[in-house]
């Protein structure tokens, strides 16, 4: 004889373990005397558990980059104008420029994916991966300089060469080809007297074909980017930014002279 009648809502709440202890005990007692209802509750719980188990693997899947707020946070810190209208406007401009513009529309959450901002990221990433690689920082060493220049020029479809940076105290170690979403890029690595590495990164540009010298910091790696006549450059390294600036000026001057 139950004081309070058991409701359908309470049966559901019992399935979901959401009743107060007193009420739960009361419903349990009631179910003990109503076999059919108890079967129903059991079936509901089995359903729920099966459904949970069926969907559980989704929780364990690695998060795609597009859903990684930390990646976005890092990106946004570099581009304060991240509000949607600004991005939309930028995307519209890029569309007019054509070429890689479609990328900007691809995901609003992505950092700027074109121009020297993208180049800066690539350059810093290449620096981090290769500059301090103890085994094989370069694919072709400085003693094969001509072959290196020829190889990179042919893959970049632009004449490039390792500038002479000895006046900045930098000796060429060698270079390698780096893949980017815009095609191949070239990476030259230099070393100063203390053994610190400086990277010169170069690739053709569809967006920001000519862009001023800009100070960058990507993932803690300082550097400078600029572009001239469709060829983009990044100078990144562990050296102080002023030293890197001087080096970057030297590179730019040599390229402009050719």
């Amino acid at each position: 004889m139950s004081e309070t009648p058991v409701t359908e809502a309470q049966i559901q709440a019992f399935v979901d373990d959401r009743l107060t202890p007193e009420r739960e005990a009361a419903v349990a007692a009631w179910l003990a005397q109503h076999e059919g209802e108890a079967d129903r509750v059991r079936a509901y719980r089995e359903q729920r558990d099966a459904l949970r188990a069926g969907l559980a693997p989704v929780l364990d899947e690695p998060l795609p980059a597009a859903l990684d707020l930390r990646l976005r946070g890092a990106a946004s810190a570099r581009s304060p104008a991240f509000a949607r209208p600004a991005v939309a406007a930028a995307a519209a401009v890029l569309l007019m420029l054509g070429g890689a513009g479609g990328w900007a529309l691809r995901g609003l959450d992505m950092p700027p994916t074109v121009g020297t901002a993208a180049l800066a990221r690539e350059a810093a990433a290449s620096y981090m991966v290769y500059a301090n690689d103890p085994a094989r920082p370069v694919e072709l060493a400085a003693d094969q300089g001509a072959a290196l220049d020829g190889w990179l020029s042919s893959r970049l479809a632009r004449p490039v060469q390792a500038p002479d940076l000895s006046k900045a105290g930098l000796q060429l170690i060698g270079g390698r080809l780096v893949p980017t979403e815009f095609g191949p890029a070239g990476l030259y690595l230099y070393r100063d007297e203390a053994g610190q590495r400086v990277a010169l990164y170069v690739r053709p540009m569809k967006v920001d074909g000519t862009h001023r010298m800009t100070r960058r910091e990507e993932s803690g790696v300082p550097g400078w980017t600029w572009s001239d006549d469709g060829l983009g450059f990044g100078v990144f390294g562990a050296a102080p930014a002023d030293d890197l600036h001087a080096t970057a000026d030297m590179v730019r001057a040599q390229y402009r002279a050719t």
Binding site: E8, R40, Q47, L51, L59, E61, L67, A83, R84
Partner: protein
């Protein structure tokens, strides 16, 4: 003031744990992983753009799931309008299902197909409460319906699912999602 969409550490800490559940709910509704993740990305965009609003909501989770739910229903309607077939028995079942090892004998692949064949309003209640563990009040807020409606939908969903399981119906034929598909705002 136009709020910048760059999340600070506090915002990330609040949002991050809710992303996997949102993926799960999106996956359960849309069933196509890319589509579902794309949807969650949309939700994050909106949530960050309107971040201040969530403080007025009952809970961050309910607020996010409300955004997610409404966008998901929009997408399902678009699919329907474009005549895109609702993927009920796609490869997803294989991906969603874990090896059947439980004593109950319910095959998880089966239950996914059966749940997919429930009317939309019942299916979402089952997922929000049974899987996402939203409170009844949160589910009511997400669906913007009275608590009593949530309870009756939950009850009907469970009973219908039970009957389908007993009769083994109907993974096929595919239900017409039309009448049941409505925006619950």
């Amino acid at each position: 003031m136009m709020r910048s969409m760059q999340p600070d550490a506090e915002t990330i800490a609040a949002l991050e744990p809710l992303i996997p559940p949102m993926r799960r709910y999106a996956r359960a509704l849309l069933r196509e992983p890319e589509d579902a993740d794309d949807l969650v990305q949309d939700v994050l965009e909106r949530a960050l753009a309107r971040w201040q609003q969530h403080r007025r909501a009952a809970s961050l989770r309910a607020w996010l799931f409300a955004i997610l739910h409404n966008l998901a229903i929009d997408r399902l309607r678009q699919r329907k309008r474009r005549g895109r077939p609702e993927p009920i028995e796609t490869v997803e079942d294989a991906r969603l299902a874990t090896p059947p090892e439980q004593a109950s004998g319910i095959e998880q692949g089966d239950i996914m197909a059966l749940v997919a064949s429930l009317p939309e309003d019942q299916r979402v209640v089952l997922l929000l409460i049974g899987v996402e563990d939203l409170t009844y009040a949160e589910a009511a807020a997400v669906l913007d319906v009275p608590l009593g409606t949530v309870m009756s939908r939950l009850s009907r969903a469970r009973e219908r699912l039970r009957q389908m399981m007993e009769t083994g119906e109907p993974a096929v034929p595919r239900p017409d999602l039309g009448p049941d598909l409505r925006i619950v705002r």
